[in-house]
Symmetry: D2
Amino acid sequence: MSIKIGIIGATGYTGVELLRLLAQHPDAEVIAVTSRSAAKTALSDYFPSLRGTYNHLIFQPPEQASLNQCDVVFFATPNGIAMQEAPPLLAQGIKIIDLSADYRIKDVALWQQWYPFTHTSPEWIAKAVYGLSELNRTAIAQAQLIANPGCYPTCISLPLLPLLQHHCLADNQLLIADCKSGVSGAGRKANTGNLFAECSDNFKAYGISGHRHLPEIRQTLNLLQPQIGNNLIFVPHLTPLIRGMHATMYVQTKDGHNPYQLIADYYRNSPFIDVMPAGSTPETRSVRGANLCRISVQPAPQNNTWIILSVIDNLVKGAAGQAVQNMNIMFGLEETSGLKLTPLLP
Amino acid sequence: MSIKIGIIGATGYTGVELLRLLAQHPDAEVIAVTSRSAAKTALSDYFPSLRGTYNHLIFQPPEQASLNQCDVVFFATPNGIAMQEAPPLLAQGIKIIDLSADYRIKDVALWQQWYPFTHTSPEWIAKAVYGLSELNRTAIAQAQLIANPGCYPTCISLPLLPLLQHHCLADNQLLIADCKSGVSGAGRKANTGNLFAECSDNFKAYGISGHRHLPEIRQTLNLLQPQIGNNLIFVPHLTPLIRGMHATMYVQTKDGHNPYQLIADYYRNSPFIDVMPAGSTPETRSVRGANLCRISVQPAPQNNTWIILSVIDNLVKGAAGQAVQNMNIMFGLEETSGLKLTPLLP
Amino acid sequence: MSIKIGIIGATGYTGVELLRLLAQHPDAEVIAVTSRSAAKTALSDYFPSLRGTYNHLIFQPPEQASLNQCDVVFFATPNGIAMQEAPPLLAQGIKIIDLSADYRIKDVALWQQWYPFTHTSPEWIAKAVYGLSELNRTAIAQAQLIANPGCYPTCISLPLLPLLQHHCLADNQLLIADCKSGVSGAGRKANTGNLFAECSDNFKAYGISGHRHLPEIRQTLNLLQPQIGNNLIFVPHLTPLIRGMHATMYVQTKDGHNPYQLIADYYRNSPFIDVMPAGSTPETRSVRGANLCRISVQPAPQNNTWIILSVIDNLVKGAAGQAVQNMNIMFGLEETSGLKLTPLLP
Amino acid sequence: MSIKIGIIGATGYTGVELLRLLAQHPDAEVIAVTSRSAAKTALSDYFPSLRGTYNHLIFQPPEQASLNQCDVVFFATPNGIAMQEAPPLLAQGIKIIDLSADYRIKDVALWQQWYPFTHTSPEWIAKAVYGLSELNRTAIAQAQLIANPGCYPTCISLPLLPLLQHHCLADNQLLIADCKSGVSGAGRKANTGNLFAECSDNFKAYGISGHRHLPEIRQTLNLLQPQIGNNLIFVPHLTPLIRGMHATMYVQTKDGHNPYQLIADYYRNSPFIDVMPAGSTPETRSVRGANLCRISVQPAPQNNTWIILSVIDNLVKGAAGQAVQNMNIMFGLEETSGLKLTPLLP
């Protein structure tokens, strides 16, 4: 099978990562890349790392690109673009995987609280399937439009799914996600705060009063164990990594549950989720460049209290890798097709 | 005044940082530096950064150094040295500031659980004053032997002191300290795990099942609000900073307390504690190279729940700077003498 | 003495570094900081690292600042500002130290080739003294306007001055300066190329076909040994350091000269130049935060051929520190006043 | 085809990189990994990044490993091991690719000057083929023992081969290789100088008076253009990268040669050598994780003088990748088999 692929907004980090992953995919053929700012530039001039991999692709403005010949189009765009440009493609029957936030939140009013836009295609929100692959495999296989999850929601939700499924998180107890992200998560846009001389050798929290991924995480939690999202405290931090995300979660369970066992059982047949042995601590570099989430569970000294650690590469399982995983599911391919990547260490 | 100073074990990071700080101190004169491994090497050959600052000092083996001419001797040694080498100096009336853990834990049996030694001078443990300057100023002024706190205990305890003093932490509720440390905290000893190619671009938790600073932190907490230390969950992480420590704490208070106000009041006249305005988030580089702890308090959405952020430079307020601050207090100097340092940014 | 100081454009890295250095200067009083973009913001809100150091200063737009009450005004501005805003201050008799390139090149036509401006105050170029302190001490003491050197020109010129003074570089032989700079040298302006995720774990050359510091370096070389600047090949590289600059120079001398001896003699009484012993290699961190240039000379196997290594902190000896050194000279202070800084290591 | 492979000394960086590359190779089957220090440890416990990739391999002491069932054995060992342990395997007809320096230098006396060993199998030195793939393809295809080149020699020699082949480097003129290496080049052995807190935010030269790769580079140069190696000045630097090597070379050619054209012609059909367009500057991250060398040539202002830039990933084209490339050639596979890797950027 050769899936014809377009990528909209391929000048950012999720775009170039999609290109890296798709280059190694046996059934993928990227036929169009678009960008207004880089229009007419050869892809390999823009990203010299792709010299020799994509020699013939040239950035086109979206309206001139042959997107209607694509089987699937990825939006690797800032928020607010896909809600406008995806519907005409959807109307032609093209599958869409949106890596931005446009279709992630089911409650459009809530979405509009967190994003500074009036949603222009709310009718597609209900049809969109939230692309947390390990949660929604069946629906993804049938979907035309995938809302690919954010990196924090992926890193936090994956270890919690098995606990939520059993409704075993304690009510009225704190649920804390202390998260640390590499700087590529902020994108490739010029921004003083993300300069090397600002971020290197520096660590800080940010967005405590409200990060945009919070409603997305709450939505997933509440869907599986009603109301439990209200317990959540989510504190993101910026750490001097290029790639990598680490969630340290503090959870309390109802009596009689063993999170380690629940998580290990849930993911027994999930090729991209690695539940590590007792006493392990995952490190971000152990997933660098790979579509993996590694999880470890450690008991706290207090009753029914657990420390859950989870790492992903924010650009892979937290973005482009999960998007390709969803593509595989949508097209009936082996879920691991093109994604059997060994992490780059050191 | 000219305080004559010796530094034992000056080849490590806390040693070289003491040397940097004391070079700028108007009343300090370092007359002896010791090291077995570097004996007979000029200090400025060992640390070229000190060329021009200390041109005449030469490392001596401890037994040959003129330590008995010192007014104060700093131990910047691995654990287990000061307990042996400090007592003879103490017997001569020399003041000691021990930057290692040898005299920090009052319960010698507990100390021996966490450190692989039989304590050789337990009689000095009771006489030692725990050198958390902002807690123990009066006792420090009278002390002959200071047990200088660890970096994590300093970073965690400082913001909590005002809350503990009012016994306002809620009983039977979790008290979480999710901490992130730069790599210099692990010292200058050769160790595969601390190599550049292992730590750079990597983030991980470690020591979850029990870090040596845990009993030290608990001791401080319980001293001020009995039993509250049992609530503590302490998870340290290693982050790719040379210097810097960040504590993210999740605390629950009894009804009717405002931690921000308590902390601001407590530290009104403390020159090294900066309680930041509401909504601020401190960053580690904002204290780089300076003897400061910057603290911020943010309310969580849940009742009586607070996120407290605290940053220090682990080598300064977390080690050598606090040691010099204690020296100032012990010798009746201005507490800020030699320590009015502006952080290095960027 | 209390020198009243204004800083124009204090929101960048050289500005905040000036503020750090001047805070520790016994005779300096910063009375005005200006910035259009940050106007009305408290300095300590803009740079939290300065909380507690400068509590009362507020950024003002230049035209509203009380600059006419200053004894000296530093321009820490982008190129093209000082040439417009300095002359009115100069007309009032205020001393000016310009950290930008506006007055560095004596040949205004050449300057205009390299900078995209028509120079608006060429009459001041001839009066400006090039502030390479170790070269021009006497002239600096008499000057009203200092053109503070660029970082590359400082790092390259300092080790070469003694050789140029003796006209001992070989004619018609290559003179190579292979230089490596930290990212803060590019300033604090938002720029994709300087993002953490672009610069971290990456090394590259840039500006080979012509870097703006090239004519400045050539001017200094030719001034001392005519024509020798034409031999120069200057290749700058970007390396993932916040601060730090390293020049590796390959020089060939006429018969009978020993560069090590010439350099050591020349700098015998220069407090900020450290000529290291034979066989040493300076490292950038050995000058981090300090107004130092450390130099090492090593013979190459070939006749009369030498490898000269030189390191500075680009923000200190390469910018703000040298500016303060020049201020000291201009005001008849001890040259080291406020600048006896021990490098921050690690 | 399924090539049975053993890796001796697989606990270091070249070892784990070989494992990463071979995991993706369609014709490779790693059947034995050896290590004394890690014996009996599962490979995936030692390197958690390999969990899910190699679940069944366990480190064995070399003498217990089933190496005699291997078609090829890689030595990823410190220098001095292969010279002892390779000959018995060679005697059994097993092919050997030695990533250490044991068989690289043809002149055993010279080798013994640079390495602190008496060579124990000098009879194999003459039979060994120097595995610079682009130079020695034909001989490699016939060889039983490959001396895989060092990282600096690879990075320096590749761009020079076409010039040397035409004997077009000017006689009696300097040939300068100013090189910068990431820290993984120093290996995974615990060493204070390679600690994160020593190398991060630091840049320095090292080994100027004589780096072990110097005789290896000279041997290659002299082989192709006699005597020219004497012109070479080689200065290595350590830069805070995990991976990556950058050579900046200053060369002078005889009249009438255009290095850009010579290099482009020479490598027209070489899949792993990328000769970049005029005016380009390669960056190390553009080859991160890939078996590539990217080269750029820029004219200097002086006659017949050129700046040649070359980047490799020191662990891939500088070590494990070139080793796999050589394996492909030895076994008659497509040279790019398993090595069509897209660099990881950012």
